[in-house]
């Protein structure tokens, strides 16, 4: 059957036959880079239009319906508009850092793509510390935000950056602990092994209550970490300025905007991998025939289906819940999420040792 894995194999074979191994590797890296950028572009377009549709339907509106069939080309038109807009740098801004910040945000997103398993045996880099890598790299994104806020020479931007900084740093703790829940159960930091360990059922079913708690905490924490409503304090608390990227315009703003959506995709992909089995089809224990039928659906469809399900959840939150104040936000993290996830990790450890999971 047609699969990502086969195509990658054929390309790899052909390159190795035509060039010597070093050049083949270089070409493969270039191809991967181009593919990732292409994926970013497609994701940006798709997620923006999806968000606007979800928002419209939830608010009983129509949403974009002018450009293209059913408004599907709206985000493309937006991109063209952003491309032709003037990119301004405010007077007195630290030009180098100001211009660097959006690229850091994108770079982080790109690096995070590396360990994600998009389909069976289809991963950019199958590293054995995948989970650690993801949590380490994702904390770099806060540097891009602080850099943008600091370099803008605008006190609102700086305050916005500090708010998002505080938010991201604190929510990373609960996100990390809830990721750890699955790591404890699997006994591996390798994302591919984590997926393989779910061949007889996804962790959210196998680990029942504690993993469900971890999953809920994970979703809350990553929503906060990607600066999305109801935790979009980066967008300022009450005034209509956009926090740390107030001063950005045109394509540089678009990069931040894109990075936000890519980050949503990435955290959802990781959540899907850890809790919902990644590309693993829906398997139930040892029901061989049932499992076999499920295997007929391509693994990439499983992966993207779960990821988009989680993206939908996060969008659903955004258009339902009112925005939190900064004190409520930190309260939620330090008073509720963190203690609960600490208790939860104890429970999961006990569960892993005593074998209470399926």
């Amino acid at each position: 059957m047609w699969s990502f894995n086969k195509i990658a194999g054929i390309v790899d074979q052909w390159l190795n036959q035509t060039f010597n191994p070093t050049w083949a590797l270089v070409f493969e890296m270039v191809i991967v880079g181009v593919c990732v950028i292409g994926l970013f572009a497609v994701l940006g377009l798709v997620l923006v239009i999806m968000e606007r549709r979800v928002a419209a339907w939830i608010q009983i509106r129509l949403g974009p319906n002018r450009v293209g069939p059913k408004g599907m080309l709206q985000s493309l038109a937006d991109t063209v508009k952003l491309l032709v807009k003037e990119g301004m740098t405010p007077a007195g801004a630290d030009k180098f850092l100001f211009n660097l910040a959006p690229y850091i945000a994108m770079m982080v997103a790109m690096l995070l793509m590396a360990p994600i398993a998009f389909a069976k045996d289809f991963q950019i880099w199958n590293m054995n510390i995948g989970v650690l890598y993801v949590s380490a790299i994702s904390s770099v994104s806060v540097i891009g935000i602080l850099m943008a806020g600091w370099a803008s020479n605008n006190k609102y931007s700086l305050m916005g950056a500090m708010r998002s900084g505080a938010q991201i740093v604190s929510y990373e703790l609960s996100a990390g602990l809830s990721i750890l829940a699955v790591v404890v159960l699997t006994g591996s930091l390798n994302l591919n092994e984590i997926v393989l360990s779910q061949a007889d059922g996804w962790w959210i079913f196998k680990g029942h209550i504690p993993v469900i708690i971890a999953f809920i905490i994970f979703i809350i924490a990553v929503t906060a970490e990607t600066n999305r409503a109801p935790f979009d304090l980066a967008e300022a608390e009450s005034e209509l300025t956009a926090g740390f990227h107030t001063e950005y315009s045109g394509m540089k703003f678009a990069l931040f905007f894109l990075a936000e959506y890519i980050n949503v995709f990435i955290v959802c992909a990781i959540g899907a991998t850890l809790f919902l089995g990644g590309w693993m089809p829906f398997h139930i224990g040892h029901w061989e025939s049932f499992n076999h039928i499920m295997d007929y659906v391509p693994s990439s469809i499983w992966f993207f289906g779960k990821t988009f399900f989680m993206i939908f959840l996060i969008m659903w939150f955004r258009w339902t819940f009112p925005r939190l104040r900064i004190d409520q936000l930190l309260n939620l993290e330090w008073k509720y999420l963190l203690p609960i996830s600490m208790f939860n990790i104890l429970l999961i450890t006990a569960m892993a040792i005593l074998g209470w999971h399926f």
Binding site: V54, A56, W57, I58, Q59, I60, R61, L62, W316, F317, W319, T320, F321, Y336, I340
Partner: protein, 158 residues
């Protein structure tokens, strides 16, 4: 006790979030009832809400007569100095002088549609219209004279 309150808090919060999600989830799955007005596609069938106020106008009857006595109550009532009543003196058939309006100037760009002038008018000479497509290229086009040229005050209005 602290711990029970804490747990109650958490469950109460989760429950209230679920209630919200249920509502929006209902809207999401029942997206046929659209409340948006399809303006400008439905310009011909567009129905404005009764309470909508678009601009102040002065109705005239078929004989080009209005009810304004030039009392300037509307001018005094307006918080934005949107209305200027320019008065003149008419000579009645009996040879008496009588106050009347020369022009009732209305600056649409200053108006907040607060309706105070309409309430203040003792002779109900002005009302709120439901027009709304007011954009023009030149600001001066928004300055309007409410009484029509050569219009007169209606008989019997004092």
């Amino acid at each position: 006790m602290f711990i029970t309150n804490y747990i109650k808090d958490v469950f109460g919060a989760l429950k209230s979030l679920a209630v919200g999600l249920k509502r929006t989830g209902y809207y999401f799955t029942h997206h046929k009832e659209i409340i948006t007005e399809q303006y400008p596609d439905n310009r011909d069938t567009l129905v404005m809400a009764d309470r909508f106020k678009g601009e102040v106008v002065m109705p005239h009857n078929e004989n080009n007569e209005h009810k304004c006595t030039g009392c300037t109550a509307c001018e005094l009532a307006c918080p934005n100095a949107t209305i200027k009543v320019i008065t003149k003196f008419d000579i009645t058939p009996e040879g008496k002088k009588k106050k009347a309006i020369d022009k009732l100037v209305y600056h649409l760009e200053l108006c907040t549609m607060c309706n105070l002038c309409v309430v203040a008018c003792p002779s109900d000479a002005i009302v709120m219209a439901q027009t709304f497509e007011h954009s023009v290229y030149d600001r001066s086009e928004l300055t309007k004279v409410l009484n029509k040229p050569d219009s007169k005050i209606m008989e019997g209005i004092e």
